[in-house]
């Protein structure tokens, strides 16, 4: 009897342990938006695409809520290619599938650092620019970046920055430094109404910047100082959150936040009191890209799809749908007046761009994770 009951319990534990591993979808920098997309024009059929070389199907692995369904439908209609879009919520999740081999995907959307990691691993195909004439629509400032200096493997899709969002009626004077988040005396008035991103690199990077260090420094002394700063900050925070930050800001639940430019822009639509700043110590810049997997037999079709996404009116539709900044200079004039106004606030000018830097992930990842686990469990 005793052993039988024990066995039953054991079985139960196993079954439940299996149930317990169901992950729920969480953080993605790509937020949904209610902005009305403009209809795709149906006129560009007289292009140089050799339709006889197109595959019947294309498989795209993309960030959630990042490619509007209408855009996919318009491509399918125009080129008679069936497009399947699957989504992911982190670069690592996507990379794990790609590295496992035979992922079945033709196109992926890696962020900056992940382009470098995947290219190094030999997973990305070299793009033939002759098949993507619309590349000339892309702002040269968004090309030739550290992770892919000659854009051999990647084409910019959307980009954004990380800074501070705040309610201008509650947070006065407007902050210009990370001090408002890291100096306990300055943060105290906004206790429990403040959030930091739920992202180890963003949060530790901001702390390092406030300390006057490189945001990518994995130096033990630098990280120890950042850890002390974050441990002191934590009791004053409401939460670490990267999901739908725009909702918290728009509703007033959070009045001061480390935030992505896209979320801030979306919050501004509902709450005109939201302000935005890239602190004087600087902030993060990131860019998501389109890349073609080496494993695909459909490179020409994939390039045709990328070229389609780079059309001005399609680029505008994508920008409208996501709220992020488009690298497409031909698309920018086509977005709604509302989005234009938001772009004026969140698009960094040349001087601000000097203060932005990329999060370079890779070899040093565990050092940041250790600090992050220490801070969060404290």
């Amino acid at each position: 009897m005793h052993s039988k009951r024990w066995m039953c319990g054991l079985l139960l534990v196993f079954v439940l342990a299996a149930c317990g591993t169901n992950a729920t979808p969480t953080s993605t920098p790509a937020a949904a938006t209610s902005a009305a997309p403009t209809p795709a024009s149906d006129t560009n059929t007289s292009d140089s695409v050799d339709r006889s070389k197109l595959a019947e199907e294309l498989h795209v692995f993309a960030w959630g809520e990042y490619i509007p369904e209408e855009v996919v439908a318009a491509f399918e209609h125009e080129y008679n290619v069936k497009v399947t879009v699957d989504t992911y919520s982190s670069n690592e999740e996507m990379a794990a599938k790609v590295r496992a081999g035979s992922s079945g995907y033709d196109i992926v959307q890696p962020s900056d650092y992940m382009v470098a990691l995947l290219a190094e691993g030999g997973y990305l195909a070299e793009i033939n620019p002759a098949n993507i004439p619309n590349l000339h629509n892309i702002d040269p400032a968004n090309m030739g970046l550290y992770y892919d200096p000659d854009n051999k493997y990647s084409v910019p899709y959307l980009w954004g920055t990380t800074g501070i969002a705040f309610d201008t009626t509650a947070v006065e004077p407007a902050p210009d430094s990370w001090a408002i988040l890291f100096d306990p005396a300055k943060l105290e008035p906004y206790k429990n109404r403040t959030s930091m991103l739920n992202d180890e690199r963003e949060v530790i990077g901001a702390a390092l910047r406030y300390l006057g260090k490189d945001q990518n420094s994995a130096d033990a002394a630098d990280l120890a100082a950042a850890k002390a700063l974050l441990t002191a900050q934590k009791p004053l925070l409401a939460k670490y959150n990267s999901d739908n930050v725009y909702q918290d800001l728009a509703s007033g639940e959070i009045i001061l936040a480390q935030a992505w430019s896209g979320d801030t822009g979306l919050a501004m639509i509902d709450n005109p009191n939201i302000g935005w700043v890239i602190p004087k110590e600087g902030g993060v810049i990131w860019q998501d890209n389109l890349a073609i997997l080496k494993e695909t037999p459909n490179q020409y079709t994939a390039e045709t799809f990328i070229n389609f996404l780079l059309r001005p009116e399609i680029g505008a539709q994508i920008a409208e749908f996501t709220g992020y900044l488009t690298p497409n200079t031909a698309a920018a004039p086509l977005v709604s007046d509302q989005l234009k106004q938001i772009y004026q606030i969140i698009q960094p000018d040349a001087a601000t761009r000097q203060r932005l830097d990329w999060l370079r992930k890779g070899a040093n990842a565990t050092a940041f994770s250790d600090v992050w686990a220490q801070v969060k469990s404290n």
Partner: protein
């Protein structure tokens, strides 16, 4: 007892679907976790095949792991205890109603749980928020609003709510089987309410308590979504630590080592629990 070799063989044959299922979906993944836990992390985040105990050695010194583990166990014990205290009278009440009422009441317990789990957690967010339903009610009554959301309290409340049926149902099953005339017999023999409960009803419903406690404790101690959504900066549990090492860093070998140690500790705790709950009711002196 199986009489012949042929019958024995047939029994094995009949058990094979279960064996294959367990082997494929439980043992193989478990073996993979054991394998991973003995490797190290490559610079690009993949698994580097170098046999090493380093992950386990690091784990022993990792204060974040031990703090997180302690918090998870503490929350799970509190949730299990409170759920038991609420569920026992509730299950007793249901089990002692007329038959057709029992069905209705049990349905009443289960119907909310046909709604998606995440939707129900977000409902708690709406209830407990700074400008949430409860705080609006308090303000309406002229009282100070409370800071309920983003706290351990919020996590515990939502977990109790979420796990309640898993405690009520096994308790109900045990209490329904229980012959309630035995209580009357105990009273006739001079026992008071407490004594009759402790010596007659409790031992006979212990199987229900055990099943319910395990059904509640295991998912609670490993929870990840509830603490992530409602816990704010106070809800970093073992599930969230695993999430960090598997999805963010990523460092699968280290995450696998955490899984292994966590699993072994849970097995140990369950084993201990069975020892204790087995011995308490039986070990008592009659009379």
């Amino acid at each position: 007892m199986l009489r012949s070799r042929q019958e024995q063989r047939r029994a094995w044959w009949q058990a094979s679907p279960a064996a294959i299922w367990l082997g494929l979906f439980f043992l193989a993944p478990l073996a993979l976790i054991v394998l991973y836990s003995l490797q190290s992390r490559a610079n690009d985040g993949t698994v580097l095949w170098t046999w090493t105990w380093a992950n386990y050695a690091q784990l022993m010194r990792d204060s974040a792991f031990w703090r997180t583990l302690w918090l998870s166990i503490w929350i799970a014990v509190v949730v299990t205890a409170i759920t038991l205290v609420i569920s026992y009278p509730l299950a007793y009440f249901i089990a002692t109603r007329p038959r057709r009422w029992r069905i209705v009441l049990l349905f009443g317990i289960m119907i909310p749980f046909w709604t998606n789990f995440l939707v129900r957690i977000y409902a708690w967010k709406v209830l407990l928020g700074n400008a949430g339903v409860i705080n609006q009610l308090l303000e309406g009554l002229g009282m100070q609003p409370l800071n309920l959301i983003n706290s351990r309290l919020a996590v515990i409340l939502a977990l109790i709510y979420g796990e309640l049926p898993y405690m009520v149902l096994p308790l109900y099953a045990a209490l329904e089987r229980f012959d309630h005339t035995q209580m009357e017999a105990a009273y006739d023999l001079g026992a008071n309410h407490w004594r009759a409960f402790r010596r007659v009803m409790l031992p006979q419903t212990m199987a229900g308590i055990t099943a319910g406690a395990i059904l509640v404790f295991i998912p609670t101690v490993g929870t990840f979504a509830v603490s992530d959504i409602l816990g704010g900066t106070e809800g970093f549990m073992i599930g969230n630590l695993l999430d960090l090492h598997f999805r963010t860093t990523p460092n699968w070998p280290y995450g696998s080592a955490i899984s292994m140690i966590f699993m072994l500790m849970l097995l140990g705790a369950i084993w201990l629990y069975f020892r204790v709950t087995k011995e308490v009711p039986d070990g008592e002196n009659p009379g």
